[in-house]
């Protein structure tokens, strides 16, 4: 079977919307972060697919930077989760509803 760029775009968008629904729907902070990582993976799929379609290395270099940023953002997000757990003893996103301090 032959795979075209359109199949790659459909797959990338499908994984992106799955992560998007996960961010909207889940109550656990950890799962929300995991859904964000899913979205970033979908973006990388898109970049690599177009890199091959255009025979250009720029897409792959961009993907390396996206992975770098995702790693940094995951670290900060997990540090925030630990802070929240220490203060409130909860991982529920609905409990993080006061803006003070």
């Amino acid at each position: 079977m032959s795979v075209t760029i359109n199949d790659y775009l459909a797959l990338s968008f499908l994984i992106f919307t799955i992560g998007f629904v996960g961010v909207l729907v889940r109550r656990n902070f950890l799962t929300v972060l995991m859904s964000i990582e899913l979205m970033l993976n979908a973006v990388n799929l898109n970049l690599i697919a177009f890199s091959r379609r255009l025979s250009d290395l720029t897409g792959q270099i961009f993907s390396v930077f996206v992975i770098t940023i995702a790693a940094g953002e995951a670290a900060i997000g997990l540090a925030i989760i630990i802070s929240l757990y220490r203060q409130r003893k909860t991982l529920n996103v609905d409990e993080a509803d006061t803006m003070e301090g």
Binding site: T17, T31, M34, I48, S63, V64
Partner: protein, 184 residues
């Protein structure tokens, strides 16, 4: 018309990777236990890395496994074990709007796929594998080619990314401190 990115057996392997990746992604979102979500996410990362390797993006595939599967997933599992999810009060895993969100996602996908079917992006020039492996006019390998791009054309984003990682390290250390009073 050289529109295909992958043909034959590679296309079949891509279909398997894609199917497993989508099933694991849905399981990440739907699993009740965060540990299950983390393991399904790990499987998704490995499937995506496999798709990268199929495309000839070997360096990015290796970085994906090293950083995502080997770094970020370890971070997630550490935090899950640190937080000890069993002792937390069991709440409903999904918000009230789950049906609306799933319908929204489904509608978005249908619209996007309809657009792709009505006006598919045309295939381009036939792909020669050496396009991803040439650096300085010689065929060396994908890592060398990406390195030549990273350190010459894209040197500024590379340096900015390293500063960003420093900021992330300092931020994570500051956010992870126990309390301000105990530092002297």
């Amino acid at each position: 018309m050289g529109g295909e990115l992958l043909t034959g057996l590679s296309g079949g392997i891509f279909a398997i990777f894609a199917l497993v990746a989508v099933v694991c992604a849905i399981s990440v979102v739907l699993a009740r236990n965060p540990i299950h979500s983390a393991l399904f996410l790990l499987a998704t990362f490995l499937m995506v890395a496999g798709i990268f390797f199929l495309q000839g993006a070997e360096f990015v595939g290796a970085v994906q496994i090293l950083v995502y599967a080997g770094g970020i997933m370890v971070l997630f599992l550490f935090v899950i074990m640190l937080v000890n999810v069993q002792r937390l009060p069991q709440t409903e895993p999904y918000q009230k709007q789950i049906v609306a969100a799933v319908v929204l996602g489904f509608v978005l996908n249908v619209l996007f796929d309809a657009q792709l079917v009505l006006e598919p992006i045309p295939g381009g020039a036939p792909f020669s594998p050496d396009a991803f492996r040439t650096a300085a006019g010689r065929v060396l390998g994908n890592s060398q080619a990406v390195a030549w791009g990273l350190y010459r054309e894209y040197l500024l984003p590379f340096e900015i990314a390293s500063v960003f990682l420093l900021v992330a390290i300092v931020g994570a250390v500051v956010l992870g401190r126990r309390s301000v009073e105990k530092m002297d």
